[in-house]
């Protein structure tokens, strides 16, 4: 009883609709013309025309990260697909669910070096969670639904579906999203109960416990954040977070020690170093977090909750691994904790908190205020005041400004903080903001960027203008690749090789040329007004602030150093970086 057949292009559209997709970020070209034809004059799915395919993937990431739903990308073959590669790699590193549909030359031309042919499957194999080449329109619908299943289940990630042009033109049957299990990919979501009990036992026995949460909590969904909050409250233990996990736990909560890692808070890093039980929740012991491995958190027993079995014992051996979805595992842990009426040792906990309070007194984010030129920290503090209680979404690019944003902004909820963590992709901020703004048209979306990063995907201003997306670009202009300059200062005797940004454009004129508003401040006294004006803007705006060129980002654990070898602000002591450390990234 075969129902009427559809063309491949129609099947693509119908499966997207059936998967609940509302928006596709894309860019047309010869190989995807049949799909673009199917998209023409329909109103089920909105297409956002980006200006570069990398922008499409970052926009889809921004959409996905800010909604918890998969982001969808449509690009043409050859250069369209290769331009998407950075975005795909970014999504893989940060576990963002993205479905990227790539055009391909017609089947009979594959392998002939045809015009705009690229081995997309070969090129994207190592930078996707999985990829598919559709060889027959008969298989198309099933593959489309499989792609969504794979991208969103287990540890999320990008999936490429490569679509030869003839497969789009030929007809085949449509099948809906099936509920049946995938034949081979069945990630474990429930944690092993005896490990969970063992973990609860260990936590209850802790004298210096510490929660260490990561992006996995955000990925697991808002429910996981709620459970994390409750569990932390129930125990009364302190908590720190990775860059990717910010927002899963409220930054303003007393229990929150701030971000951990290379530019993490003094108290968070020392707590990591000194704790006796570490509860890692959806984080992966990344090198930016651990610092020198043989000196990392030597005093603690470690519990590690992760949906990806390959994250367990990858960098750091743990004592109690629990493979499963963070939300499910926390739910079970909390049940066991409550039903067995566990409590932390009061005295021990009080003295742990007293130690932490000492570390906090160091006030590691204190900075010297700028007299004639604004300090970036001050700009971000001012931004924080302006967005307080406004349910804002913040994206960043990569560099010092990213770390300052992570340090000085206060996140209250998951899915509001969008940054390129694993890959550290300059050029992520603006397109990600566009994606987030598409998903949340009424909410303020702010892209905190640096002048160098901003120029890596500056063409997307045009997208923001076309779709009237009122993204607020807070441009911290230090006329340097600041983070590169900071490393050169620390590790290469102040030899600022190629890190000065010569010939910067006049960003006000850039804004003008693209048709958006601009604001400018080159004195600390103007910052408050600039940010107020930026927040009041109804359309997209570039708000540029000239900041202190020499400002560095502290605290910093130099590469190859241990947590207790942190460099603190300008008045702190400055341990030298070892030669071994200088060889690391």
């Amino acid at each position: 009883m075969a129902s009427a057949e559809l063309t491949g292009a129609e099947i693509v559209l119908k499966s997207l609709v059936d998967q609940g997709v509302k928006v596709v970020f894309g860019y047309p070209g010869g190989a995807v013309l049949p799909i673009y034809d199917a998209f023409f004059e329909q109103n089920k799915i909105k297409h956002i025309l980006v200006r570069h395919e990398q922008g499409a993937v970052h926009a889809a990431e921004g959409y996905a990260r800010s909604t918890g739903k998969p982001g969808v990308v449509l690009v043409t073959s050859g250069p369209g697909a290769t331009n998407a590669v950075t975005g795909l790699t970014d999504a893989l590193m940060d576990s963002i669910p993205v479905i990227c549909l790539t055009g391909q030359v017609p089947s009979h031309l594959i392998g002939t070096d045809a015009f705009q042919e690229a081995d997309t499957i070969g090129i994207t194999r190592p930078c996707t969670k999985h990829n598919y080449l559709v060889k027959d329109t008969q298989d198309l619908a099933k593959i489309m639904h499989d792609a969504f299943y794979v991208a969103t289940n287990g540890r999320p990630g990008p999936v490429v579906v490569d679509l030869p042009k003839d497969v789009m033109i030929n007809t085949g049957p449509y099948v809906g999203p099936k509920r049946a299990q995938h034949s081979s990919y069945k990630p474990q979501v429930k944690g092993n109960l005896s490990s969970i009990k063992e973990a609860v036992e260990l936590i209850a026995s802790a004298k210096k416990p510490l929660f260490y949460s990561g992006g996995g909590v955000v990925n697991s969904g808002p429910g996981a954040s709620t459970l994390l909050r409750e569990f932390v409250r129930q125990t009364g233990a302190p908590i720190t977070s990775t860059l990717m996990g910010l927002g899963a736990f409220p930054s303003t909560d007393e229990s929150f020690l701030g971000m951990v890692g290379m530019h993490g808070n003094y108290e968070a890093n020392l707590a990591m170093s000194e704790c006796d039980v570490m509860i890692c929740v959806g984080a992966r012991f990344d090198d930016r977090v651990t610092g020198r491995l043989d000196a990392f958190a030597q005093k603690s027993k470690k519990i590690h909750i992760d949906i990806d079995p390959s994250s367990i014992n990858k960098n750091v051996p743990v004592d109690i691994p629990i493979v499963g979805d963070v939300g499910h595992v926390l739910e079970d842990m909390l049940k066991v904790w409550k039903s067995t009426a566990r409590k932390l040792d009061k005295k021990a906990n009080a003295s742990w908190w007293a130690t932490i309070a000492k570390w906090r007194e160091r006030d590691c984010l204190k900075y010297l205020p700028g007299k004639d030129i604004a300090k970036p920290q001050y700009v971000l503090e001012t931004l924080q005041k302006a967005v307080d209680g406004k349910d804002a979404y913040v994206t960043t690019d990569v560099g010092q400004h990213q770390m300052w944003a992570a340090q000085y902004l206060k996140f209250q909820d998951p899915n509001r903080w969008l940054t390129s963590g694993g890959l550290g992709t300059m050029g992520y901020g603006l397109p990600a903001a566009i994606g987030a703004q598409v998903a949340h048209p009424k909410s303020p979306v702010i892209c905190v960027t640096g002048e160098s990063s901003f120029m890596m995907n500056i063409q997307e201003l045009s997208t923001a203008v076309q779709y009237r997306l009122p993204v607020k670009i807070l441009l911290l202009n230090n006329r340097y690749m600041g983070m590169v300059r900071q490393w050169q200062e620390l590790l290469h005797g102040n030899r600022y090789s190629e890190s000065y940004m010569e010939s910067l454009p006049d960003f006000a004129k850039v804004a003008d040329a693209f048709g958006l508003e601009s604001l400018f401040a080159d004195h600390p006294d103007q910052v408050e007004n600039l940010i107020a004006d930026m927040m009041a803007c109804e359309g997209p705006v570039i708000a540029e602030v000239m900041i202190d060129q020499k400002e560095n980002c502290f605290p910093m654990i130099p590469s190859g150093a241990a947590h207790y070898e942190m460099i603190l602000g300008p008045n702190g002591d400055q341990p030298a970086v070892s030669a071994k450390g200088a060889a690391l990234v």
Binding site: R125, P126, K129, H130, L133, S184, P309, S310, I312, K314
Partner: protein, 168 residues
Amino acid sequence: MDKMTERHTIGVLVDNEAGVLARVVGLFSGRGYNIDSLTVAEVDQNDHQSRITIVTTGTPQVIEQIKAQLGRLVPIHGVTDLTVEGPHVEREMALIKVAGGGETRVESLRIADIFRARVVDSTINSFVFEITGSTDKINSFVGLMRPLGLVDVSRTGVVAISRGDKPM
């Protein structure tokens, strides 16, 4: 070789679809794991499943990573570490061409007999032997053939299966 490294034989059941071998091999090269030997062939025509046998060396931590990384590839149905999961049988087959005449030719035949290698091709001045056994056995046979006119070696790499009545 680092004294901490171990040799493991890993069986992997995969969907026999295009590119699946590239995924496995790419995983090993991309993450810097060793492949000492790799064999693959379809083992279930109805379900289109292939079985890959990989022999690898690494520290215990790396071996654990290899299995976990393999396990998360989408078209993989199962991963089994035969080295740790109880007794198993490992076999390799090789075709070995030896050329020469006179006494060395007779000697190569005599040794082939001891190793239970079969002659599968013969000319006036050459033999092709077929030999099956452990990797060590084939290594020593090849070693013995070298001074006797060894010309070519073609080996399958290791295939392995657990002993007893259970599937992988």
